[in-house]
């Protein structure tokens, strides 16, 4: 049976919206959980970077909210986390986390990272590479899956464009966000969970602008988002000015927001991330 790490986190008001855990907080708790699992069973993040010259960059993430967990419901939550290597060349690390309160699992996440072979410079620059064999050996057989993790974002976006009913016009005057240091991780590259925050901010801006003409958009604030799928294509960096292109759809009973995050001054390199939020 794959190994897990289980522990308790104390809940504070800063982790919550009025109705649920903040998505960025879930992201941080999930990343912390994956880091803990690696420390418990393979090696600490610090030693992976400094001794093995292995870093990780997140490229896909899924969040699903399940049972209610509000600030008033509990003093602490239980975190359970498991991880495994995926891909025929051990080219992915997948981490699954649940955060549970009194009513059961409140949020579950699945994150897929790509290992990097670090060049050894102080910028921690690196290139994608399979996980080194001696680290793969630290995973049990049932923690090594040869099939790769696949992001659902491309298919989900195509489905919304094909069968969703568009609720917002072609966006103009796109909201912008500058990446400041408090959005970054140690290498002055955006901390991925903050990009989920930029997407959430763009959703709020979309609701603020179009909520009068399309009141059902407000559901996405009143009731909260139930599911997020994200995929990263490039890294945002310190002082980058980003813009977010948001399109809202009605799809069955759901309202869905597709956010495309990219540089405000297009450099021809394509978007940095696609985030799909659903009610």
């Amino acid at each position: 049976m794959p190994r897990s790490s289980t522990y308790e986190v104390v809940l504070d008001a800063g982790l919550f919206t009025p109705t649920q855990l903040q998505a960025t907080a879930v992201g941080r708790l999930g990343f912390q959980a994956g880091t803990r699992w690696m420390r418990d069973h393979v090696g600490s993040h610090r030693t992976l970077v400094t001794r093995h010259r292995v870093g990780f960059v997140l490229w896909a993430w899924e969040l699903e909210y399940d049972n209610t967990l509000r600030f008033v419901d509990a003093d602490e939550a239980r975190v359970d986390v498991r991880a495994r290597v995926r891909g025929p060349r051990s080219s992915q690390l997948e981490v699954e986390t649940t955060i549970s309160g009194p009513a059961g699992v409140a949020a579950r996440t699945r994150a897929a990272s790509v290992p990097l072979r670090l060049a050894g410079d102080r910028a921690l620059s690196g290139t994608p590479a399979g996980l080194p064999e001696k680290l793969v050996a630290a995973f049990r057989d049932d923690e090594n899956e040869r099939s790769p993790h696949r992001s659902q974002v491309p298919a989900l976006r195509a489905e919304l464009e094909r069968n969703g009913e568009r609720l917002t016009p072609d966006p103009t005057d796109l909201p912008t966000f500058r990446v400041h240091r408090h959005h970054c991780e140690v290498a002055d590259q955006w901390y991925w969970a903050e990009s989920i925050g930029f997407a959430g901010g763009a959703r709020e801006e979309c609701v603020r602008r179009h909520g009068r003409s399309t009141p059902e958009l407000r559901r996405a604030l009143a009731e909260g988002i139930r599911r997020i799928d994200a995929m990263w294509l490039r890294s945002g960096q310190l002082w980058d000015l980003l813009q977010v292109r948001t399109t809202a759809y009605r799809h069955g009973a759901d309202i869905a927001f597709v956010h495309e995050l990219g540089l405000a001054e297009d450099d021809g390199g394509g978007p940095h991330a696609i985030v799909v939020e659903r009610t």
Partner: protein, 88 residues
């Protein structure tokens, strides 16, 4: 040429993100730049003095391969320097 430095590399240029530098070619400019900012040189260049594969250099928006760094650059040309990805 004007070198634009982004994100991860900013702390190695004391947070100057748009730097005027002399030189006939992009390579000349990079040499002058790393002389001015030695810590940037430690990050940008490998032991042989070549630009590490983990950093991207572009001239007026066109990404240059290592062997293309001898392209001429005038004082109005823009050189972008980007770290593709870091592993923090």
């Amino acid at each position: 040429m004007i070198v634009k430095v982004r994100g991860v590399l900013l702390r190695f240029t004391n947070y100057e993100n748009e730097i005027e530098i002399g030189g006939r070619t992009v390579r000349d400019g990079l040499v002058a730049l790393t002389n001015r900012y030695p810590h940037l040189g430690e990050v940008l260049l490998d032991r042989e003095g070549n630009v590490r594969a983990t950093h991207l250099i572009a001239l007026n928006g066109e990404q240059l391969a290592r062997e293309e760094l001898d392209r001429e650059a005038t004082e109005d040309d823009r050189v972008d320097m980007v770290t593709a990805v870091s592993g923090g």
